[in-house]
Every structure is written in structure tokens, then in C-alpha cells.
Symmetry: C2
Subunit: 133 residues, 2 copies
């Protein structure tokens, strides 16, 4: 039932807690934030485990990761299709956005310069309507 836990790994209480939280929140979170939120809901999970679980999920392609301009890692439960994010720099709420034209632009530009094995990062940061209020 609690599918989502990568196969070949164990389904532990801690992992379920992390997964459950990730699926509930709507934006990106740092491992530290997740740790705090877990404690608030009385979920007994160590910070180390939060980090390890997140890494596990990233490897399994079940969560999406990016970085704050300041350098901390952010994680978010994420739909599998390729897209980018519009992230509130205050509360972390994120909106998934698509931009097929942008993808094409990136590939074209890279190709024109002789670059191969292209990958790209597009993040839009702003203050969401709620936080701006």
C-alpha cells in the first residue's frame, strides 16, 4: 500500500513518515525543515535518517531536488514529467511550470556551441502572493 518506497529497500516507520510528509506539503523543503516538521507531528525520525531517506528517494527518481540561492539543498515530492519550478523564496511553496520552448532553446544554444550531453537548470524565484501580503 505504501508504495513509493523504492524496491529493494525496507519499508520502515521512519521512511513512511518522511514520505507522508513530503506528499502532504506543497513546496520545497530543506532536510532541516522536514526534520523539524516531523518532530512537530511527533514523528520520531533522526536528522541523519531524513538525509538518507531523501537521498534514497532522489536516486529512485521520486523526489526532485534543487538548491536555494544560498546553497542549501531543497527537496520536493514531484511528478515524474520534466518541468521546472517557480519557488517562493519566503515559504518554499512551489509551482511546477512547463516550458517546452525553453527546453528547445537550451538544447539549441548548447548544440550551437558544440556542447553535448546537455542538461539544464531553470529556477524562478519570487515572492508568492500570500507572502507578499
Amino acid at each position: 500500500m505504501s508504495e513509493a518506497i523504492p524496491s529493494g529497500t525496507r519499508n520502515t516507520r521512519q521512511r513512511s513518515e518522511v514520505l507522508a510528509l513530503l506528499r502532504e506539503v506543497e513546496g520545497f523543503r530543506t532536510p532541516q525543515q522536514l526534520y523539524v516538521e516531523l518532530r512537530q507531528r511527533d514523528a520520531q525520525v533522526g536528522l541523519t535518517t531524513v538525509y538518507r531517506t531523501l537521498q534514497l528517494l532522489v536516486d529512485a527518481g521520486e523526489v526532485d531536488t534543487t538548491r536555494l540561492p544560498g546553497g542549501e539543498q531543497l527537496f520536493r515530492w514531484c511528478s515524474p514529467s520534466h518541468h521546472h519550478h517557480l519557488v517562493c523564496r519566503r515559504c518554499g511553496t512551489a509551482v511546477e511550470v512547463k516550458g517546452p520552448a525553453v527546453e528547445r532553446w537550451a538544447d539549441r544554444v548548447a548544440g550551437e556551441h558544440g556542447y553535448t550531453d546537455i542538461d539544464h537548470t531553470i529556477e524562478i524565484f519570487g515572492t508568492c502572493a500570500d507572502c507578499a501580503a
Copy 2:
């Protein structure tokens, strides 16, 4: 003559060394790399000073900064106009690219979702022709 050092600050040997190196190299560098390269050319500059000088230059808008997927900060001497980078993930060589259409897309998307005070990050990573050889 060695203009480029932000006004209101002193023109020291160390700052000139950092600036000179930045202007010579063509790609992004981490503070640590710059520090090593400076020592190799017998420029006596402390790591702390490298960090402080880079911060100074970023504040003055004279260098451009971004992050490696791993999280370390990268700095590059950079032309003043707004643009993005196509960075070789192997050697750090970077090409400045412009994409007015992308800028507009980012602003429009953000606005549609009620976000304000927009900023964006667009980085394209790839392997340059030389490194692919």
C-alpha cells in the same frame, strides 16, 4: 589603471592579483581553485581574502556567480549585461548566452501565478567539444 576595483575600497596587491586571475581564466572557478591557482603563480593571497574579494566583486556587480550542482559557489569575471551560462561540467569553460525570450517567459509565468519580485536562474550544463574528444 587597474580600474575594476570597486570605488570606495582600496586597491591592494591581493585584490589586483585576484582580479588579474579572474580576467585571464575563461570559465567559472571556485574560491578554492582560485586560491590554488594564485599560489601557483606565486601570488601571496590568503583564502580568506579570496572569499572576501569575490564577495566584494559580486556586490559591485563585476563578477558573476552561480553554483555547481554539488553546491559549491562558482565565480566568473563577467560582462555586465544580463545573460546566462552554458558551462562545461568537466573543465568549467563557460559561454555566455542570451535568451530574451526566456526572460520574458520567466516573468510571464511568475506573474500568472501571482509571484512578485521575480528573479531567475538558468544554467545549461554540458560537455564542451574539447572535453568530449
